[in-house]
């Protein structure tokens, strides 16, 4: 067991716990300082015709009349034992709500990531392989970076669902519907990845080793696959790790446009109704995902570039730089 690695791993795990805890408390404080609460807001709908007395009694049931620090302490005590509580909006356990939608978002996010990577590497390959004929593709990343994914989504729905009838909007979780949602979500991400990839491919192609390889008669495809791809992919890992946020944020809009039910739409409903227990749980989950993905990125670095190692006498694969 490498002691450096153990210390490093422990430090990272503790950091992660602190980040998650802060995210939990921060969400609580932010939502608590906003006026109103989901229960009162619903009861105050003039259609309901409740008296103030009735509203006070119902709010008391949810403990929303207690001082904020007291509510935070109660919430933290539950969280410490893994109890995320009950949604104030729906009355259902928070773990059930998240469990119901998590799978859909994971499928969408991973599919979008796959779409993004395939598109980015295809564009990267194309502009290196056919610089004259396909050089115009270099402008695509900046173009798609500036197009919001809801616009791409609406156009895809109009063309492929309504005009060509390839998928039905009411079957939003179906294979083709998921595929097109993944394209809508993946294109802006692929643009970011492609921008970094193309810049790095250009950089690597200008290195001496590439010129030597070409002078030895290596074809463009082999040069790309054997020599340029690996070093140019290193910064891509960082970009991909950072796009996790983009994928989660974009999922909110994509899910709404495509009528999918996922973490994004759950967050949207919870934000508009100030459903604190759900928001705390989702933010905590997002913090965990972020920490884990960034840790994973750190672990992948040394696999791609042996120069990135922890300073030690016996460097080994899987030991990442902090």
């Amino acid at each position: 067991m490498n002691r450096d690695y153990a210390k490093y791993a422990l430090r990272r795990v503790l950091q992660a716990v602190v980040v998650v805890l802060l995210a939990y408390v921060f969400t609580f404080v932010v939502i608590s300082v906003l006026p109103g609460d989901p229960v009162t807001n619903t009861l105050r709908n003039p259609q309901n015709g409740f008296t103030e007395e009735e509203i006070t009694r119902i709010v008391a049931y949810y403990g929303l009349d207690r001082p904020v620090p007291e509510q935070l302490w109660a919430s933290l005590s539950r969280f410490a034992v893994g109890d995320f509580g009950v949604s104030l909006r729906s009355g259902l356990p928070v773990t059930r709500l998240i469990g119901d939608v998590l799978g859909s978002t994971v499928v969408l996010a991973l599919s979008a990531l796959a779409v993004a990577l395939v598109l980015a590497f295809a564009v990267g390959f194309a502009v290196r392989h056919q610089p004259r004929r396909l050089g115009f593709l270099r402008s695509f990343p900046s173009l798609f970076l500036s197009v919001p994914n809801f616009v791409i989504g609406l156009v895809l729905i109009n063309v492929f669902a309504f005009r060509l009838g390839l998928f039905r909007v009411i079957d939003a979780e179906g294979g083709l519907a998921t595929f097109f949602a993944a394209i809508a979500l993946g294109i802006p991400v692929s643009a970011q990845v492609a921008e970094v990839l193309i810049a790095n491919l250009d950089h690597e192609a200008g290195q001496e080793y590439a010129a030597v390889a070409t002078s030895r008669g290596l074809g463009r495809t082999r040069l790309f696959l054997r020599h340029l791809l690996k070093p140019a992919s290193l910064p891509v890992v960082t970009v991909v790790a950072l796009t996790v946020g983009e994928l989660l944020g974009g999922a909110l809009i994509t899910e709404q446009i495509f009528g999918r039910t996922g973490v994004g739409s759950l967050v949207q409903r919870s934000v508009t109704t100030q459903d604190l227990p759900v928001l705390q749980a989702v933010v905590t989950l997002a913090a965990v995902v972020f920490v884990v993905v960034n840790l994973a990125a750190d672990l992948v670095y040394p696999l791609l570039d042996p120069r990135v190692r922890l300073g030690g006498a016996k460097p080994r694969a899987g030991v990442a730089a902090p």
Binding site: G36, E54, S90, V155, I157, N158, F162, T261
Partner: protein
């Protein structure tokens, strides 16, 4: 950044969607009740929200969940779109002369879908939970259930006697209100967390919940042994359709384009301005009115200058209701004739009491001492004639209406400011009777016009809409007369007088009759009925 640009971009793309989608769904025949009913078929209803909780008491009157409850549950009486009350689970009823005691006789052989009988004990459990809720378990009461409810008793398996602390003529009609859904006593006994799971909520209606996914969809399947529909619907036995799927699609252009392209059968709440174009394309549109108050302003007489009768009357006569309809709505909307929707039994045509008459409005303001300044704004003792309107966030068209009203009143010399808040801020800041709220925009459904007695003054914990307390003896007398009335016949002239008085005093300033539920429907769907709360009922419907 992305979300702030969204509405404009979506509006542009909605137009593209409409063009792109004129496809197989747009047939020529209208979706009325014509033709021979067919058995079977699946209907998809695209809805903009599935609301919040599914705890029956906490969600029954929701504009969204109400659609599902209307198919999964039955009510004791049926109230049609004209407010006519007819038997359903209650076969007949009678009241004592004082209207404080009612006896309901129930139809025999009715069962909930879990097999338990819908008998007197079940009805008693429902009456209690509607009236009182169970705050200790997080179950709300039904806000508009008569507050005079005392208790109910089981006389025999098919008879219930209900007691009130004061005359309550509205009791029987209220049994047809959307809050009064009959739920299995087993469900009522469950903890709130379990009631929040729609799969546990058992009714006796023509459909049962086949599956549901929170915030996504609800699939209803017909109950083959259903045989107790209200006679008023003109159909017996099980429903004709096999399933109804309520699917949440938040984006309005996607909802309507899906119906246009034949991918769905009904889109809920399309924009009123688009309805004419859909009709031209051969689609059916429906704008049923619920029974209740019209959309209008409850004026707070405690706030100057609205403590002055002439200023209130100027407000009343300064608004051009016809212009609101032609500008904001379409011909599916009607101008207000009173403070009640004109389909409410007991509503009378009092249009003359608040007719648009700018000359009269100007004269009234002159007489009240408000003189027009060089900038066109009236002032008195150095104070400008100001009014703040708070757009109602529960009504999508409210802000557009307020803007038009501001323009109309501006011509009279009012300086009108419009505040538009989200639901949360609105709930916090805009309250009936608040000193900062001179005009509170009302949208509220009810089944019986007797409801009015509970809102006009503060008698019997009334809502005191006009800030009068019990300071206007004439209003107190009329409201009490309506509340105490022991028969509909005795109440009718009082109600008429009350409407005239409230309007002439400028306490309530009507705008238009309200349509809160708008439907765009495939021409293949026939036989849809709308009840007194304007919910579409697909029990009678079929696909042609």
């Amino acid at each position: 950044m992305k979300t702030s640009r969204a509405p404009r971009m979506i509006a542009c793309l909605a137009a593209v969607a409409a063009l792109a989608a004129c496809g197989p769904g747009a047939g020529a025949n209208a979706g009325d009740g014509s033709g021979t009913p067919r058995q079977g078929g699946d209907v998809t209803f695209l809805i903009d929200s599935l609301g919040d909780t599914w705890i029956p008491n906490n969600s029954a009157i929701s504009s969204f969940q109400g659609h599902i409850w209307g198919h999964v549950t039955d009510k004791l009486v049926y109230v049609d779109e004209n407010g006519e009350v007819s038997p359903w689970i209650a076969e007949n009823w009678e009241q004592n002369p004082a209207a404080t005691e009612f006896t309901l006789r129930l139809r025999k052989g009715v069962t909930f879908s879990d097999g338990t009988p819908l008998d007197a004990a079940a009805v008693l459990a429902n009456l209690d939970i509607w009236a009182k809720g169970d705050p200790a378990r997080g179950i709300n009461p039904i806000g508009l259930f008569p507050k005079t409810y005392d208790h109910a008793e089981v006389v025999d398996a098919a008879t219930v006697r209900v007691f009130f602390t004061a005359p309550t003529l509205g009791f029987i009609p209220t049994l047809g209100y959307h809050g009064s859904i009959l739920i299995s006593p087993k469900t009522i006994a469950l903890p709130a967390q379990q009631q929040a799971d729609l799969a546990n909520d058992i009714g006796s209606g023509p459909f049962v919940v086949a599956s549901w996914k929170e915030g996504d969809s609800v699939v209803l399947r017909k109950r083959p042994d259903y045989d107790w529909a209200p006679a008023a619907l003109g159909h017996r036995g099980p429903a004709r359709l096999d399933t109804i799927t309520y699917k949440l699609v938040a984006e309005p252009s996607v909802r309507t384009a899906a119906v246009q392209s034949g991918q769905a059968d009904v889109a809920y709440n399309p924009s009123p301005q688009e309805l004419a174009s859909f009709k031209e394309q051969g689609f059916t549109t429906a704008t049923p009115r619920y029974l209740g108050f019209v959309n209008g302003y409850a004026v707070n007489t405690k706030v100057a200058p609205f403590d002055d009768l002439k200023v209130r009357q100027a407000l009343q006569h300064g608004i051009d209701r016809q212009e609101i309809i032609s500008t904001v709505y379409t011909d599916g909307w009607l101008p207000a004739q009173s403070l009640f929707q004109s389909n409410v039994p007991g509503a009378t045509d009092r249009s003359a009491d608040f007719a648009h008459d700018p000359g009269r409005a100007n004269r009234l303001l002159d007489e009240a001492g408000w003189a027009k300044g060089a900038d066109g704004v009236r002032a008195k003792n150095g104070q400008q004639l100001k009014l703040t309107l708070y757009a109602n966030p529960y009504l999508a068209t409210s802000k557009a209406v307020d803007e038009l009203v501001a323009q109309q009143l501006g011509e009279l010399g009012f300086k009108v400011d419009i505040q538009a808040f989200d639901v949360v801020t609105y709930g916090e800041r805009v309250k009936v009777g608040s000193p900062s709220v001179a005009a509170y925009e009302v949208t509220r459904s009810f089944i019986d016009a007797g409801t009015v007695a509970g809102v006009l003054t503060d008698a019997n914990k009334g809502e005191n809409w006009f800030g009068l307390g019990q300071g206007d003896p004439k209003l107190v007398e009329l409201a009490a007369g309506v509340a105490r009335a022991q028969s509909v016949e005795a109440r009718a002239p009082l109600l008429d007088e009350l409407q005239g008085y409230v309007l002439r005093q400028g306490y309530f300033v009507p705008l238009t009759q309200i349509v809160q539920r708008v439907y765009l429907q495939s021409p293949k769907l026939h036989g849809v009925t709308y009840n007194g709360i304007a919910y579409a009922n697909y029990y009678t419907a079929w696909l042609g």
